[in-house]
Symmetry: C2
Subunit: 148 residues, 2 copies
């Protein structure tokens, strides 16, 4: 347990952390796609839109929450609008901005996706962890959360 042993452990742990989280995320995405649903990021956006305000959200607010680059958010909204899951509306308080609103179709998709999403999360993530582990993971994530 001297200092020399900690360094290789961390780099190995890092590699495994990245590999596993990528694999788990990928597995959930695969399940969703197999069930005929759009990618996770869409669901995330819908959920946040519904959660925060039925009146809609500014694009930059959504973007901040999703940790997405500005141009990616812009294009994601493009796609969501193109298939009719959200609407862009002019923003009364800021002429530069816009308000993103869930459509009925979008709301319906959230409910339709949830069972498949939940099953996938359970299969690849929650169902593999015990109660003590989920608690520990929660604390860890808190510490890893970005400095900003």
């Amino acid at each position: 347990m001297d200092q020399h042993t900690t360094e290789p452990d961390i780099s190995d742990l890092w590699a495994r952390f990245m590999r596993v989280s990528q694999a788990v995320l990928g597995a959930v995405e695969v399940d969703l796609k197999a069930a005929g649903f759009p990618p996770l990021a869409w669901y995330d956006a819908f959920l946040e839109l519904r959660r925060v305000d039925p009146e809609g959200l500014r694009q930059f607010e959504l973007q901040k929450h999703m940790l997405l680059a500005q141009y990616n958010m812009s294009r994601l909204v493009d796609r969501l609008v193109a298939v009719g899951f959200v609407r862009r509306e002019p923003c009364p308080e800021d002429g530069r901005g816009q308000v993103i609103c869930l459509t009925e179709k979008g709301r319906a998709l959230i409910d339709a996706m949830w069972p498949a999403y939940r099953a996938a999360i359970t299969a690849h993530f929650g169902g593999r962890l015990g109660a003590d582990e989920t608690a520990a993971l929660g604390g860890m994530l808190e510490k890893l959360r970005p400095p900003a």
Copy 2:
């Protein structure tokens, strides 16, 4: 603490797990890029090449280790060859296949990248976790590891 509270906890934990791991990975990539180095995936490939066999690895072996799709591996090798970090050599035992070998330039890059990489991992990952937490995380990752 009844059963109803566990379900939202898991889905919330999942969301945070994904968000945090994406953010941490992104932060490390940003640091590497800022230091003028190629992306993490390159380093991974180099490291695995050096670790397993100085004679080189088959493309599909590397691909399996890196959890990469076959076509992505093929193209990654394209890029690595294009900048001279690896070589493709014909495989004596299998005419379809090839052996991927690190070049001297590639070997040198591993050593050049390590300090920056190590610093980034420490800053965004290892340095934020205590010894007990790294141990707990290790166990968790074991359970989350894909079934295959």
